[in-house]
Amino acid sequence: MSKKILDLRGLSCPQPVFETKKAVEDPSFDGLEVIVDTKTSVENIQRLLSGFKGVSYTVEEGEDFKVNISKG
């Protein structure tokens, strides 16, 4: 199964971090790629994820930001 992608570019606060939170807390969560377009959103998502146990992530920086979230 391909990884779920969440395109949250261009959304006002708090939607990017809130949608990410919902997706990670969903029982069916099994890895996720989040695309956002501001550093603010990346920081918010990083702060959110630091509060979760058993979740790791990497950030890919380009024109937009891709946050790859995975279990473990």
Partner: protein, 356 residues
């Protein structure tokens, strides 16, 4: 200790704003109004002749410097990103009604906290109103409310707000003579009370940089606690409150009580409801008035539209007997707040879709 280590940047930003605001009062800004984004935008509206309340007209350099500081900061740190197109007209009216609510209470959230730190207990009702307004906004957000995406756009659009602020700065410095016309500068009242231009500008420019880096937001502080149990932004606001209080105590500016507080009234029902409206409007727009200024500096032109909405709202509020005064609320305050609440509720109810 762990908490402080994690949040020290935003806490320092709040502390700096708290101390800076109280010092600006010492240097000449109105009492318990060292910095008030709503009041200062209202003063600018007056200086431009958008309302005729002669005691609140001045081109406040703090507002200009907030945008310009954020603009420069976003350029240095490569975060300047012109973007827009997320229902600007709705954002205009959220700004408009946010100002209506703010001027019925007499202050934005920054000033609500500064008033508390100065011992003005009328701000307690406003703080409760802010919490309730944001709480209602959070229910809409949970229900799928959003204004849709903005999109990257032409570089030049991001320069419009900084250029506007630069133009206002020139207007303040040059004070051109227009026969019988604007700019108007108050000769008495709050509009006549101001720190020297250079001091106001320099301090606020630094706040603009600091707040752009830390994303300081008073509405977000309340929202993130309610929505996500996240105290990050709140730690900044608490820093502001504590250090503004300490600074006021040292400077002899702490005068506790309800009656006779500077540029305030004691009608708690409308202190509360004014801020419910403002808080809800900020929550729906995604940022407090200060945050909207910083966003507009880094290229968010929809935030710029919100700011213009606030300035127009200020003109309207004073022209139509909506703005409160130390004597109490205006003849049309209650009506306008109710209309504003209906607008915000309709916005929250009708503008929703599933994102993901």
């Amino acid at each position: 200790m762990e908490f402080f280590k994690k949040h020290w940047k935003i806490i320092s930003c709040g502390i700096f704003i708290g101390i800076a605001a109280t010092l600006l009062q010492k240097f000449g800004n109105p009492a318990n109004m060292g910095i008030c984004v709503a009041c200062f935008e209202r003063d600018i509206a007056g200086a431009l002749g958008f309302h005729r309340a002669a005691i609140v007209q001045y081109i406040r350099p703090e507002i200009l410097a907030f945008v310009l500081g954020s603009f420069v900061s976003s350029l240095i740190f490569k975060e300047f990103k012109p973007r827009g197109g997320s229902l600007p007209l709705v954002r205009f009216f959220l700004g408009f009604f946010a100002m209506i609510g703010a001027l019925v209470f007499l202050g934005c959230p920054w000033r609500a906290f500064l008033r508390l730190a100065g011992g003005d207990w009328n701000a307690i009702a406003a703080f409760a109103g802010l919490v309730i307004g944001v709480f209602i906004g959070v229910q809409f957000i949970k229900g799928g409310y959003n204004l849709g995406r903005n999109y990257p756009t032409y570089k030049f659009t991001g320069l419009i707000m900084p250029l506007l602020m630069l133009s206002l700065l020139l207007l303040l410095l040059i004070k051109p003579i227009v026969p019988g016309g604007a700019p108007f500068f108050s000769e008495k009242g709050p509009g006549s009370q101001h720190a020297p231009i250079f001091i106001s500008f320099a301090i606020a420019f630094f706040i603009g940089i600091f707040a752009q880096r830390t994303r300081f937001c008073t509405m977000g502080a309340v929202r993130d606690i309610i929505l996500m149990r996240d105290f990050h932004l709140a730690s900044g606001v608490i820093g502001l409150l504590i250090f503004a209080f300490l600074s006021n105590a040292i400077l002899g500016q702490f005068k506790p009580g309800f009656a006779g507080q500077p540029i305030a009234h004691t009608n708690q029902v409308w202190n509360f409801l004014g801020m419910v409206l403002a808080g809800l409007a900020y929550a729906l727009a995604g940022g407090c008035p200060g945050r909207q200024l910083f966003l507009s500096g880094e290229g968010d032109i929809d935030a710029g539209v919100f700011v213009i909405g606030m300035v127009v709202g200020a003109g309207f509020a004073h022209n139509f007997g909506v703005a409160a005064s130390p004597a109490g609320i205006g003849p049309w305050s209650a009506f306008a707040v109710i209309v504003g609440l209906l607008f915000c509720l309709a916005t929250g109810v009708f503008m929703r879709k599933t994102l993901a």
